[in-house]
Amino acid sequence: MSVLAVISTLLLLAVVMAVVSRPLLSARTPDEPRTPERAELEAEREAKYREIRDAELDYRTGKLSHEDYEAVNGALRAEAVVILDQLQEDQAASPPK
């Protein structure tokens, strides 16, 4: 192996080790991500908001009758309230940093 190749490899190895070992050497613990439950609730909330918007668009573009829209929209919003309440409880239990 040529000297240049050895030096280049050692340099690359040093950079890799610095990148990979930084979390192990650092005194700072990596940022705690949101709790899995909260992340799941937030994903559900986003999906529910999208569903509410979609139902409204379906209604306005004539794909849902007024009665069906009222029923679907009511059910969706009731489901949204449950998710929002759960999210509020989770936030009260462990406020975000």
């Binding site: 690359l12 991500p33 009731a78």
Partner: protein, 725 residues
């Protein structure tokens, strides 16, 4: 340089092993610093492989023939444009490209999810590094791109002439991007199952990657079809070849997943189905790579050797068994949270669409692997051809196109028959009008399947057109915007929905092109001498005169051929000149001294240069196979072989010039392949529309955050009001 490249690979393998260990240790012991270190291993891997890829690319550009890969797939006379692409024409280079692309996508997804789903992403990190490690190990132990020969040969063999086509510069990176992007949802799906967190969050995190995989695979498939049509000289764009099928199968599975994941996001349903589709898509992507690289099935596109078969079979076996184990052992937590509200709902249409797509995938899988299955069962290898595929795929494609028109006009959750009836009036009217016009014009006589496809496509146009028109009308009523602004605002606010509709239009256009070009094609294969004419459909094609060019390095399409023999064809319709076509066949240096000092200069694999006149209504396509085996032309080569020294190719080229002049002076009859195909251009236009729609759906909405805040506040107020009521 080669030693440094090899060291990069060993370092990369070490990083993969460490990252897998650190990620699993971190998640199993609850020590996030190890998970974080594992994640950073992926970043480091991307950096190392970028350096390794740059080393190999430089070796190609600098004609460093001490690299075996460079000597085998490039040469000093290969145009620079193709030297850069020659990296992935070799087994070794394509494995490096695969691993490099995977490391880049893995870095992107792990960076984007660095503050979410720690457990899931730790497992996903280990799985992604496992795939990376597999491909790097293949390079280290089986197909090292940095292997060298000392002393280096003075000249390389050169790039396979078939691959000297512009779309070949981007076709493999596109397909490999698609394949490697398919691994991202697979890794997160497996990670979710391992971490027992099978909610919608992993889907949300990887949805865009699944869509990007679908887009890249689609672009790769279209570029491959275009290359086949304009380069291979058989006049078709799809031949149900094993390697073509291998890229289509994960695309079909990804299409099913992209639709069904919406049902899980919205309703918490189809969790088993979705995770199974993701695992199947990833496994099919690996199988696609395996087919190209193992050489297990013969294919015009397979450029690999047979050495990698066993490791790939082991990987695929592990993937299938672990997928089955994970899904079956987690089936309790994968139970659906809701049931279908109504059979007349968009969910039901999506389910039907999923069944058709998976059915298509199964048919193609069976037909592709039938040679292996039949050999395993009977000891004889049998294969199925295009008619077998057409028998099953055409009806399924018809249903698929029809469903892509029904879906947009049906509401989520539930729709009433009265509403559905009203929504179907315009699409049905458009479809029926198309039927009447085509029947009256006698266009589709005797071609019921083509007629059905035209009507289904018209139905899709009507249905999507109506959706856009109604959406714009609603937007105008709400915001008082002029129509063009309302259209832009509508699409910007609902990118997934309206981008998806554009994709449906593109698919319909593409299938119109496929149906028309395959059902109403006129083709002729015959021998013509200068001055002779033939009829192809409504067109008359006359062989005007032969052409010949001695083209060391500087042929018209810059592929590095030595001799190009062709013809000038005059195409006319009802006596009126339509086009002049100039098909040719390029001859290449074989690099085989045994063929003689002149013989080797034109002894390589000849490649057809197709000439066509494309238009929005039809393509007139031509290819030529000139005959250079006549006694007179053979004699020129024989005399040259005897009298000229092999070390003086410049003198040999003089003999090739004499051969070219003799060919022009008394041209022998040439074999022509002439095709008139209607609406082929619409296949490429449809593909571009599909890609455009996918980009719209994929693009992040800049106003999403602002809109979300507003909706959140309104929703909470309204939701509370409803709950109180």
């Amino acid at each position: 340089m080669a030693q440094f490249g090899g060291a990069c690979l060993i370092l990369a393998l070490g990083v993969c092993a460490y990252g897998i260990g650190a990620s699993i240790y971190g998640v199993r012991t609850g020590r996030p610093e190890f998970s974080e270190s594992g994640r950073r291993s992926v970043y480091a891997l991307a950096g190392i492989l970028t350096v390794a890829f740059a080393v190999l690319e430089l070796a190609f550009l600098r004609n460093d023939f001490s690299f075996n890969t460079v000597a085998d797939t490039s040469s000093a006379t290969t145009p620079t444009f193709y030297k850069a692409a020659a990296v992935w024409s070799s087994q070794e280079g394509s494995l490096l490209l695969w691993a490099w692309l995977l490391s880049l996508w893995s870095t992107l997804v792990l960076f984007l999810t660095r503050k979410r789903m720690r457990d899931v992403s730790s497992y996903a990190t280990a799985i992604l590094l496992g795939f990376g490690g597999f491909f790097i190990a293949l390079m280290v132990f089986y197909a090292n791109p940095f292997a060298t020969t000392d002393p280096a040969p003075a000249e390389g063999v050169g790039l396979d002439p078939l691959l000297r086509h512009p779309s070949m510069m981007i076709h493999p990176p596109m397909l490999y991007s698609g394949y490697t992007l398919c691994i991202v949802p697979l890794a997160f799906g497996m990670g979710a199952l391992l971490a027992r967190k099978v909610d919608a969050e992993w889907i949300k995190a990887t949805r865009r990657f699944a869509m990007a995989a679908w887009l890249f695979l689609g672009i790769g498939i279209m570029l491959g079809a275009r290359w086949s049509y304009s380069e291979l000289g058989w006049g078709g764009y799809w031949g149900w070849d094993a390697v073509e099928n291998a890229s289509l199968m994960p695309w079909l599975c990804a299409t099913a997943f992209i639709h069904s994941l919406m049902i899980q996001e919205k309703r918490g349903m189809l969790k088993v189905w979705n995770v199974s589709l993701v695992l199947a898509t990833g496994t099919l992507a690996i199988m696609g790579t395996f087919l190209v690289r193992s050489g297990i099935l013969s294919s015009i596109h397979a450029f690999g050797g047979a050495t990698l078969g066993v490791p790939f079979v082991v990987l695929i076996g592990v993937l299938i068994l672990s997928s089955i184990y994970l899904v079956s052992s987690r089936r309790e937590m994968l139970r659906s949270e809701h049931r279908l509200d109504s059979l007349l709902s968009r969910e039901s249409i999506f389910l039907a669409n999923n069944l058709v797509l998976v059915g298509l995938c199964f048919v193609i899988f069976w037909g592709t692997y039938f040679p292996l299955i039949s050999e395993a069962l009977t000891g004889h290898e049998a294969s199925v051809g295009p008619p077998w595929f057409d028998r099953y795929t055409v009806p399924l494609a018809l249903i698929l196109v029809l469903l892509s028109g029904i879906g947009p006009v049906i509401a989520w959750r539930r729709a009433t028959f009265a509403n559905a009836r009203r929504n179907f009036v315009i699409p049905l009217s458009v479809a029926l009008s198309t039927l009447v016009v085509l029947l009256a014009a006698g266009v589709a006589d005797g071609k019921p399947l083509a007629l059905a496809m035209f009507c289904c496509a018209a139905f899709v146009m009507g249905s999507v057109g109506q959706e856009y028109w109604r959406g714009v009308r609603v937007r105008r009523a709400m915001a008082g915007e002029p129509a063009p602004l309302a259209l832009v605002a509508l699409v910007k606010r609902n990118r997934r929905r309206y981008g998806g509709y554009v994709v449906h239009i593109g698919i319909a256009v593409l299938f119109v092109g496929v149906a028309a070009s395959s059902s109403f094609q006129h083709a002729s294969e015959l021998s013509l001498s200068p001055g002779q004419s033939t009829k192809v459909g409504a067109y008359t094609v006359r062989y005007v005169r032969p052409t010949a060019a001695v083209t060391p390095k500087y042929d018209p399409v810059h592929t590095g051929s030595t001799l190009s023999l062709g013809a000038v064809l005059n195409v006319s319709k009802h006596g009126k000149h339509v086009a002049t076509l100039t098909p040719a066949e390029d001859f290449y240096d074989s690099g085989e001294p045994a063929q003689g000092s002149v013989g080797h200069l034109i002894g390589g694999q000849p490649v057809s240069q197709v000439s066509m006149d494309g238009g929005i209504t039809r393509d007139v396509w031509s290819a030529i196979a000139p005959n250079i085996d006549t006694p007179r032309l053979k004699r020129i080569v024989e005399i040259g072989n005897k009298t000229l020294p092999i070390v003086r190719p410049d003198e040999g080229m003089i003999a090739v010039a004499v051969l070219a002049r003799e060919y022009l002076k008394s041209p022998p009859p040439a074999e022509f392949h002439l095709i008139v195909s209607p609406l082929v251009m619409w296949i490429w236009v449809g593909g571009m529309i599909v890609a455009g729609g996918a980009l719209i759906a994929l693009w992040p909405a800049p106003s999403a955050v602002r809109a979300r805040v507003g909706v959140r506040a309104r929703s909470r107020r309204a939701a509370r009001g409803l709950a109180r009521a």
